[in-house]
Symmetry: C2
Subunit: 205 residues, 2 copies
């Protein structure tokens, strides 16, 4: 028995973010893996385990269920070195996390999903895939520029912003078809994240 139960989708970057932070923090948890488009997912929704209908969802011992990957990161990171103490630095970190959910994920992750999942293939028209490629490269350019002269997105050490951005960026090449050779700083940053003590990969455990 552990005090945390995480419902998460093994191949989803949003779910992976939470597993990654739990691993980096060495926190024990019970994992309930649920694949997309399955009876298990329908049952978990019907049972009320996913309040806003989405994975990941973190169940706390007090009965509260937290949703939204980046909000779960906030809860787990509060009071640790993953969250700066200063309100302005917190806002700068959150800006990258909102950027990730509003602009990055709907392009970089969506293109990877369209390229990967057979049940979405009919939506992957050449025009849409080309537009997503262009827009994704523009967003990755913004991230590349932000890493000019720095190792991490906010401040001198890794924060939740790095975990949130890493989830779909490190698979943007192989899954999404983005040209990561154009982004040497992002590539080096991905290697720095993967070298953090306790790191687990997307497909690990």
């Amino acid at each position: 028995m552990t005090d945390l139960t995480l419902y998460s989708m093994p191949a989803s970057g949003n779910s992976y973010k939470v597993r990654l932070l739990l691993a980096l923090e060495g926190r024990a948890y019970t994992h309930v893996p649920i694949e997309t488009n399955t009876q298990e997912l329908a049952e978990a929704k019907a049972a009320g385990h996913l309040p806003l209908g989405k994975l990941p969802a973190l169940h706390l011992p007090c009965g509260t269920v937290l949703t939204e990957s980046n909000a779960i990161l906030w809860y787990l990171g509060a009071g640790t070195g993953w969250v700066p103490e200063d309100a302005l630095e917190q806002a700068q970190m959150l800006a990258w996390m909102f950027f990730e959910q509003n602009r990055h994920e709907p392009v970089v992750a969506v293109r990877a999903s369209l390229a990967t999942y057979p049940h979405l293939a009919h939506e992957a028209t050449p025009e849409r895939m080309a537009a997503l490629l262009d827009e994704g490269h523009t967003l990755l350019d913004l991230m590349e520029d932000a890493l000019d002269g720095r190792d991490w997105f906010c401040g001198p050490s890794p924060t939740l912003a790095d975990i949130a951005l890493y989830a779909y960026t490190h698979t943007a090449g192989p899954r999404g078809g983005f040209d990561m050779d154009r982004f040497p700083r992002l590539t080096a940053w991905c290697a720095r994240v993967a070298a953090l003590p306790g790191y687990v990969g997307l497909s690990d455990g």
Copy 2:
């Protein structure tokens, strides 16, 4: 002279959120209004006033420029009654704010933009508008359910979550064409926000 300068788009809900919180807090600021698709917008981007290329952007006296509407709310709300002190309550508030940016804005606000802006009319196909209508009603249903027995989205008093969600919800009927008669709790909640001391509307100064 004031210590804050806000670049904001008058008709944009994301920009309005920040103006609303500044008004509710009685904070003075210099407003630089910039309309979409204008020379002023291109010039502000070229001058580096909008680091991630988007409005709103808040310029602080220290020279830092904050982007992402909900991150700006966090900075302005820190240490006030708009942000709960407990990390779990903060995470629950942020969950609604990430929901707003990842799920609500790309549907509710986008449908309003497609219906309103002539330069986007070619994207407003009947199929797309119908799909956005259905998805928006589903999202508004989740919000309606969350207000069962409560006046505000998190805790007993209004938080940043209410401001973030209000921006595009209060215009979802007139601008987006959503059927707000289906959502009596949301309608009453909108009236509560509009009755807060210091409130300004989307089109006010």
